[in-house]
Symmetry: C2
Subunit: 195 residues, 2 copies
DNA sequence: CCCGCCTGTTAATGACCGTTAACACCGCCT
DNA sequence: AGGCGGTGTTAACGGTCATTAACAGGCGGG
């Protein structure tokens, strides 16, 4: 729908699996449902994935990796001030949260359902992403101690990742306004952290 | 361990069930595990609860109700300024988040695993709690439109409820410092919302 | 003393579910 | 034409799991 491509079967399955996992939890959805969501049924999925676990692993590793890659691109392209870097990080994270709500939900909800090796990998990617933020934040707010900075970054993630919960009642006018609001809230939180 | 009491079997079971559900998800934990966590085994739980669903229902209705009750007490006791009311709400929510992490986790994670009637009840309680906050926020920031206020409240909930994710690495010195930091972050976000 | 009630136990049941087996179609390449 | 890899299908297996059945000890009140 966005960049689009041939949209291979794998991607189609992953997308639907992400949606279902986010809606009903990893253990709450059966392979038959995932299959039905893409028009094939049940065990046909095993032509594309080694198993249900493999789908979740690929989803979580994928989102973690893309977040980190996006963050690193921000750092690399940040020729300007530290302030601009932090803004770029916030904007990038908001884009992820708004475009891939199911993945954001999975990201901090079903991590423990992974095999040890995959879980370690995801955690490592997450940790690097957090460190990247902490560094950027402490450049903008040098008086902020590291533990406080780290806790604040986690809290701001919680704030930005709240978008899945906004789906209920009368939400905001549009995506642009929501992104702008979230951006302001995040900056406000960081400002307040260093008071 | 904290207020303590006779700590009836029911309460003991609920506490352990909350912890396990938060750790591994509702479908991820079996009744045998819950039983083992309180020293009895497996089907003995059915002397205290109608079923696994009933435990989750009681947990979610309980936390939603207590949040709402706490919020209402803040409103009732707020003889002072609107500012003080908002601070009291924030403090109350932080206390919940820090004292009952598993319940906070469950609260926005396993809601969809409930029977229709229970889910409706929990959602209604949650909605009233949010409305209570929105009203308080708009008293402090009158220029803030209602949709923005509601979205901001949800986002701040995400921020405050991020505490479960802080358990990993080097966290903050103590509970008091964490609570103070979260309080500042929340106020900072609200300040920024009305800019 | 003894009868219920409360609270446990273990064994069995029945459903669900992930995974594999066995089979089939279809399009492409030689 | 023929074979083969990719993609499906349905049926069967095996394990897990919530729930129920059947049974038993303890203990307080008549």
């Amino acid at each position: 729908m966005s960049t689009s491509a041939p949209t291979s079967r794998r991607e189609q399955i992953l997308k639907q699996a992400a949606r279902l996992f986010a809606e009903r939890g990893f253990h709450g959805v059966g392979v038959d449902e995932i299959g039905a969501a893409v028009g094939i049924s049940g065990p046909g999925l095993y032509r594309h994935f080694a198993g249900k676990d493999a789908m979740l692993a690929e989803l979580l590793v994928g989102i973690s990796g893309r977040l980190l890659t996006g963050g690193r691109r921000c750092v690399a392209e940040a020729d300007g001030s530290a302030d601009e870097l932090l803004d770029a990080l916030i904007e990038g994270h908001i884009d992820f949260a708004l475009d891939d709500r199911p993945l954001i939900t999975l990201h901090d909800r079903e991590l423990d359902r992974l095999r040890d090796t995959d879980r370690r990998l995801v955690r490592q990617l997450q940790r690097q992403y957090v460190e990247l933020w902490v560094e950027a934040v402490r450049k903008v707010y040098p008086q902020l101690a590291e533990p406080e900075a780290r806790a604040t970054v986690h809290a701001v993630f919680g704030l930005l990742n709240s978008t899945p919960h906004l789906g209920r009642s009368g939400t905001l006018p549009g995506r642009r306004a929501t992104a702008a609001l979230l951006h302001r809230l995040a900056r406000g939180a960081f400002d307040a952290a260093s008071a």
